[in-house]
């Protein structure tokens, strides 16, 4: 498979799957403001995914559009990070995952602004503005919960213990990623580790959370299509309409 296509597809899958997860909160958030905030964040991510899928389809050149890429691929062909497919868990779990991921993507999109792929650079310029809001919003909640009640702090610690193993996958480099660095299309994500750690730990200190930025985890495989059990359920929900009524249009 073409490395460029694969690379853009990975990025699209990350945004779509997390966007879908966060959209599951719609109507269930703990307060009205969050019921507006979470779907807004999901919309940003799904909007980014749409642009990325369209671009991936153009690179592939087989006439696949955003809908076919999103709705008609089986689980093994999805290339997203495992951290984005994890179930939402409670509110602390949702916010900590968003904080970890958005903090990474803020660094990633910054590097992508100078990509030799002009479409990706254009998407980065839009996405960076949005992801800054996601970082700020999730970081505020991490601080509020970590430095809040015993229960909120315990829930945040539990979320950390569940998510820590999934963070290193964000920084992993493989042949596809190295090809993209060589072509000037994508950044070396290993070089983002220190900035990410510094950012996460600064917020952890404010949150009084006695944990370190997790950079030695060991869960990976999403980029190769090896997903957790929850991914099948997620896609069953996401793809239901096109699977049941193939070719259905608005």
């Amino acid at each position: 498979m073409d490395a460029h296509f694969e690379y853009v597809l990975r990025l699209a899958d990350d945004q779509l799957v997390l966007g879908h997860r966060i959209s599951e909160w719609c109507g269930h958030a703990p307060m009205l403001e969050e019921d507006l905030a979470l779907p807004n964040i999901a919309l940003d991510l799904i909007g980014q995914a749409r642009m990325l899928y369209t671009h991936a389809g153009e690179i592939e050149g087989n006439g696949r559009n955003e809908d076919q890429l999103a709705y008609l691929r089986p689980e093994q062909e999805y290339r997203n990070l495992l951290i984005v497919e994890r179930e939402n868990g409670d509110f602390a779990h949702t916010m900590l995952r968003l904080f970890f991921y958005a903090s990474f993507m803020e660094l990633f999109w910054e590097k992508m602004l100078t990509s030799s792929d002009e479409v990706l650079a254009g998407i980065a310029a839009k996405a960076i503005k949005e992801v800054r809001y996601h970082v700020r919003h999730s970081a505020e909640w991490v601080i509020r919960m970590g430095d809040g009640t015993d229960e909120s702090a315990r829930r945040l610690e539990d979320a950390y213990d569940d998510l820590e193993a999934y963070c290193t996958e964000m920084f992993e480099m493989d042949d596809v990623a190295r090809d993209m660095v060589a072509a000037g299309i994508g950044p070396d994500t290993q070089a983002l580790v220190e900035s990410w750690k510094a950012k996460v730990e600064a917020i952890f200190r404010e949150a009084m959370l006695n944990r370190f930025a997790p950079v030695e985890g060991h869960r990976s495989g999403g980029r190769k299509g090896q997903h957790g059990e929850e991914m099948g359920f997620l896609l069953a929900d996401l793809q239901y309409m096109q699977r049941t009524y193939p070719g259905l249009n608005w």
Partner: protein, 173 residues
């Protein structure tokens, strides 16, 4: 119109282009109907191509803004109703910024009860890095942010501590 425009050049073509711009520029934003798409700055350009078609370039505010498609369809319809053969192009680069909202647009927003995006470097409280947003009703700067995310992706939710008015703030991006 396509046939007619194809054979025009120079000042005549410019007059056609200007008319196409005025038609497209009059399209209202479905979420904030007090503003036109030219006021918000999402209508980037209208040109007449070699085949006499009116090519309107639009840029979305936020990636996932649900109004994007509705705005494109409305612009297409407006141009068609005015006798043009429309072509709508979505451009994402350079990325839309709240700086592109026109002065007229900012005034209309404020009259409508939505605080326009803060511009200029003196808008930050030096000590706290907080943005000061003035209440669109009473003008007081004694306001608080209720939520970073408001009724649409481009707005945040604020409340005035002086007059108690809850209001939307058009976020600065």
């Amino acid at each position: 119109m396509g046939e007619e425009a194809r054979h025009q050049a120079g000042p005549a073509l410019e007059a056609v282009r200007q008319r196409a711009w005025e038609v497209a520029a009059s399209v209202e934003d479905p979420e904030i109907p007090v503003l036109t798409i030219a006021d918000i700055g999402i209508l980037r350009s209208v040109d007449i191509d070699d085949e006499g078609r009116a090519v309107a370039k639009l840029t979305p505010t936020y990636s996932g803004c649900p109004a994007t498609l509705a705005i494109e369809l409305a612009t297409e319809a407006a141009l068609r109703d005015a006798g043009f053969e429309p072509v709508i192009e979505r451009v994402i680069s350079p990325a839309w910024s709240t700086d592109w909202i026109t002065e007229e647009g900012r005034r209309k927003l404020s009259d409508y009860g939505i605080a326009p995006p803060v511009s200029g470097s003196n808008s930050k409280m030096a000590l706290f890095g907080e943005t000061i947003v003035a209440c669109p009703r009473c003008g007081s700067e004694n306001t608080r942010k209720v939520s970073e995310f408001g009724s649409t992706p481009c707005k945040a939710h604020y409340q005035c501590k002086a007059c108690a008015e809850p209001f939307d703030y058009f976020k600065c991006i």
